[in-house]
Symmetry: C2
Subunit: 269 residues, 2 copies
Amino acid sequence: MSVLERLSFNQMTADPWSLEQVVRGCSRAGISTIGVWRHKLGGDTVRASAIIRDAGLRVSSLCRGGWFSAPTAVERRERIADNRLAIEEAAILGAPVLVMVCGPANGQTLNDARATVMDGLMEVLPDAEKAGVTLGVEPLHPMYAAERSVVVTLKQANDMVERLASKAAGVVVDAFHVWWDPDVMREIERARGKIVGFHVSDWPVPLPGILMGRALMGDGVIELRRLREAVDAAGYDGPIEVEIFNDAIWQSADDGLLELIRRRMVECV
Amino acid sequence: MSVLERLSFNQMTADPWSLEQVVRGCSRAGISTIGVWRHKLGGDTVRASAIIRDAGLRVSSLCRGGWFSAPTAVERRERIADNRLAIEEAAILGAPVLVMVCGPANGQTLNDARATVMDGLMEVLPDAEKAGVTLGVEPLHPMYAAERSVVVTLKQANDMVERLASKAAGVVVDAFHVWWDPDVMREIERARGKIVGFHVSDWPVPLPGILMGRALMGDGVIELRRLREAVDAAGYDGPIEVEIFNDAIWQSADDGLLELIRRRMVECV
């Protein structure tokens, strides 16, 4: 499949759009696959799934499970229960992958938080296996270590997935999160057979902000083609999700955005 | 020596202060060592050195050399020349270490920029050896990869220093830059005998900004004591530099700041 055929539109790239708008826009633009976020399901996963399927679209992944490292034991139990719910939602949506953003330290030491994350993954893994959903452990950029994820390198994610040793555990490679890593090529190769998602956006210079600073592919410094070719060479041939958090894109999102994304996929990815 | 006796005040912690103010403030506060920045030397290193020595203070390091990865060949020659000048300045100041911030990709690929950095270090290393100044390769946080340094992990810095294989090459461990790294403890141990600086500040949550977001020790989530003990266990017993880039601290810097820093060193580092 060509890069364009592999394009999946992650709905957070156009946050102001409802699920219906995303589905209509992607249908019109000839984009057959979308990445879905849980808080956009409107509390009715069956209905959301019907909206997507009725338009002939597929779901590449559901974002997001994880956040295991809650500050108290009670909250950690709640997080486990919520991950089980997320796995069910992914199954209903036909999403092969639940993207796992593992959670920050939240008052624990980094080592303890990392152990909590591993325990959490172990605990929900049997549910994922039963549901036919793969947990996609996504390392986040180290600048999110304090607030979002103690899993910050692909090496770390690979180590975890090796320990999980299950068909229902893999890694998600997001270019924005891993591009800086001197070991990224080695770890992509090491992830062979375990890559279950590839996300693209770009890193503009200067970066306007930590959370909302991502750019459209081609508007930054990430060697996207090199990363895509490495991921392909490691045997990944699945969807390539475009996931851009950027206020300006959100405010101006229209059909032109989808056309621009298609063009940049061909030019830059 | 106690942590307090090892305290070195990096002058960028109080950017509005002149060198004279830093020297007077540190003398009054009983801080015997300072970290100096080149752009604060006022174009007269000999005079700056006299100001510092006359007050009975020592210089722990000079910031900064590096920035090898300029976009053009001509500019790269200029950077080499500028690094030679920095080495001379360090020698005049009696600074045992020149902190190396190696530079961003600047239009090169990451691999090429990293090779350019290594070439630059190799080229100026004999000058450092002659001058009795150690080049302290400082890995920067990966969020600076695009704008400041393609050297982003302690593993990478250790690999480089191994290749340089000289008494005039070591690593600088800055807690703000390395705390998130799952391999940091292993790499600190691996750096045994090669650690030539340890810098402290803190990572507040949320981080208010990429460049100016550092906090006073104790006002963030970095496990400073654990890192300091690891660095000590790896044989480092030199100065501990307090280097905080923070607008609010800059605006309110007075003698009270130095007292607060002394207190936080004892409590948190």
